[in-house]
Symmetry: C2
Subunit: 402 residues, 2 copies
Amino acid sequence: MLNSHALEMPSSYLFSEIGKRVSAFQEKHEADGPRIIRMGIGDVTRPLPGACVEAMRKAADEQADAATFQGYPPGEGYDFLRGAIAEHEYKRRGVNIPADDIFVSDGAKSDSANIQELFDNDCVVGVTDPVYPVYVDSNAWSGRLGSYSGGQWERLVTFPCTRENGYVASPPDGHVDLLYLCFPNNPTGTAATAKQLREWVDYANKHGAVIVYDAAYRAYIANPDIPRTIYEIDGAKDCAIEICSFSKSAGFTGVRCSWTVVPRELRRGGASLRALWTRRQATKFNGVPYIVQRAAEAVYSPDGRRQCAETIAYYMRNALKVRQALTDAGIEATGGENAPYVWMRCPNGMDSWSFFDYLLKEARVVGTPGSGFGACGAGYFRLTAFGSSEDTDEAMKRIALL
Amino acid sequence: MLNSHALEMPSSYLFSEIGKRVSAFQEKHEADGPRIIRMGIGDVTRPLPGACVEAMRKAADEQADAATFQGYPPGEGYDFLRGAIAEHEYKRRGVNIPADDIFVSDGAKSDSANIQELFDNDCVVGVTDPVYPVYVDSNAWSGRLGSYSGGQWERLVTFPCTRENGYVASPPDGHVDLLYLCFPNNPTGTAATAKQLREWVDYANKHGAVIVYDAAYRAYIANPDIPRTIYEIDGAKDCAIEICSFSKSAGFTGVRCSWTVVPRELRRGGASLRALWTRRQATKFNGVPYIVQRAAEAVYSPDGRRQCAETIAYYMRNALKVRQALTDAGIEATGGENAPYVWMRCPNGMDSWSFFDYLLKEARVVGTPGSGFGACGAGYFRLTAFGSSEDTDEAMKRIALL
């Protein structure tokens, strides 16, 4: 009677296992040494931009008056926000995305989990390895990946991202229908070049595949030659859905707002994916709070843009410090230049969980074991730049002493 | 390649068809008569309770300071809100629901659409007729209802709610696995008695079925003998999931907050539905904004409770006026006593859409054709109480003159 695919899914133990090990360590050693510094989870720590707070206060006041009260939001988002996104995220970068191809939502996680509902269950799904687990789990839940055994899904194609290919896979030789890419990448922190993205767009258009492009970390791209949106690549509107987020660009992890572009050009078997997504959202979603959409709009005000840029610069100073400290310590590391994540090779051939325990015990620093993101993450470790500047300095000082 | 079940779904034209007819009428007759009064859509119009606005302003300020900043919310909701719901919505009514069986979400629509993901695709689904379309469409999208032809889904069981059974169906003779009930009902405005609900709970426990109980309108129940939650019925924790909402109880249609109870007692085939829903939400959802959850918590403050009660009383005065005016005009009508909807029989044997056109033309009042909610809605019409008191009076005056 219950969903057998869901019941068959292996427990996602990554963050709960981290929590357990940290708690156990704390219980034993809380009192006898320096405090634990957390560089594991991808949550932000800096306060919301003042412009967004101001917009929320104003929107709250509007809700207090019948004349300005806002009820059900439009399912696809208010025009004021869709227009601001079209202008600032696309048009100002030379990319034309009509505002009504932009769908406002409550989070990149929701959209990247829900997007598979547009596809038939016999589609072949491909993901990079290592990977953000939501792409895999949402497809497994629907039964699109077959059975799970020996640590693998029967019908899942993976594209290994390794030090040999610079952590950016090339398209496969075989056929895939639905593929997920995330750049700048979580967890490796690598950004894809225009040439690399072009290979994927060409592959998708040749195979009739659809790319789900997760660009949640695009605001961290520093190199002007790296595409900030997949639509900078010719032909991408014919094959790609792009998912973006205010979580990391404006500190909205607790505010919940994101957007997804489903271009009107994107059709398969004569049907429009944009029409199907519109229908999906109208059936299962009732829109994003008015107050949240006003906060998101304020991200694009002059003050909001300046404040967001300052916060991103703050985190990126952390990222560069982490990358530099690891390199200075003779540890191989990538990322941290165009992304808030640094992906390091565990020293002395340690596996990911051994290094986790070692780092917790010896430096009292918590990171994320790379093996939690897929087979190719084995022997790797992720550190994030979202902590305070002081914590980051202190953690790197401790690591240098190891 | 695309979801063939979704592509096969008939267009949901109800509210867009209403919009089209109203626009066409306006274009022709805008200038030559009184303004149009809308009593069709279920959105509220009164401002948010002051206590909720105050809580939102305070929460916005907290987001502006690193010391009080809130990032990712807990996926199931903050303890402060789950605890307040457990206390005020259940314990004070003599029902014990542990706070951690309560899952906070962004809307009753999302949850009632997503809950079917817990079930296998061969489950037999049953709904009342007339029905809130989301229950049907979400199951159709997943392919659980088979093919659509002749206006019917191959594998959907319907329970007719007619004047003969007082718009509350009894359980069927045959077997159903997953069934949806909504009381007070949208669209008919009927509330189910304890005796009626007990029949359904007994049926579900006998058949191993699961009831999804949509109680979004429970705050409108005036009769103290009518259950406000299905858990007032013995045995309901073994078979029922309850979905509730702040949308209509506190005017949160534009704020977006709801909750769903999945009792720990509810198991099928040895598996816990609560564990499966926890997993579903952890995989596909990232929680409700901090500021929204603080606003919802304020619903239960002394001021919030008083303000919500005032607004509900305001709408219920409208509802009673509508019901009375129709009765005085010799029109058969139900609902409006324990629900914000009045369900009327179209006079003179008119069909739902003919009456829609007639009412629009002759009274300039917009309602919702009952046939849009299912075959049993044919010849019926829904009016809502969510307008202003002045508009409701004016609309009823016009109807009386027809």
